[in-house]
Amino acid sequence: MNFEISKEPIQIQDVIDKVVQREAGAITTFIGTVRELTAGKKTLFLIYEAYEPMAVKKLEQIGKEIEERWSGAKVAITHRIGKLEITDVAVVIAVSTPHRADAYEANRYAIERIKEIVPIWKKEHWEDGEEWIGNQLETVAYPTGKPEEKDLNE
């Protein structure tokens, strides 16, 4: 299971171990951590919520997209849900490839895609309130009610 939603703290080494391969010269990881300050506002903690079975499917889709686009790439992603404190690890993406340029690019692609198509939401809790992030920013609108065509292909 290279693509997981976890209610427990993520063991980074476990995610890395899933992509080790004799053909790989490079492994990159992205570790998303809970930052204290966003735009000058102090976060106390976050709650992550997921539509779990679909989130796993979408993580798997991202893995397939990467393996098709970067030859020889192997991918593992674990995203945590529940309550997270400052510096806690929210997501770990590990990508191994024969050559290092691909490992950086493919990893970057994975986090950008997670932010587009994986049904996971975070609620920020501050001293003076709380809010589901992404809900009223409306920087991303889907006039057709769905994301781009490519997002639908598995």
Partner: protein, 77 residues
């Protein structure tokens, strides 16, 4: 029957994780309109829809037994 699932701010607005109603034969757009009226939801334009865990368009027709999920703009990562 159809299971309709809500997440994030929609779940809080509706007050339920999911509801069961029969909307077979209706389009996603029609279901959105129905729910918008029933729960005073006014942000359904920016909300994606999944049928059986796959993204669907507003035009798609809901089948008997389909599980519908409304997916607000995501914020994982």
């Amino acid at each position: 029957m159809n299971k309709i699932m809500f997440f994030a701010h929609l779940r809080e607005a509706v007050g339920e994780e999911s509801i069961s109603i029969d909307v077979a034969g209706r389009s996603v757009a029609e279901l959105k309109e129905l729910l918008a009226n029933q729960y005073q939801l006014n942000q359904l334009d920016t909300v994606m829809t999944a049928i059986n865990e796959e993204f669907a368009t507003n035009e798609e027709i809901i089948q008997q037994g389909d599980i519908i999920a409304f997916i607000p703009p995501v914020s994982g990562g």
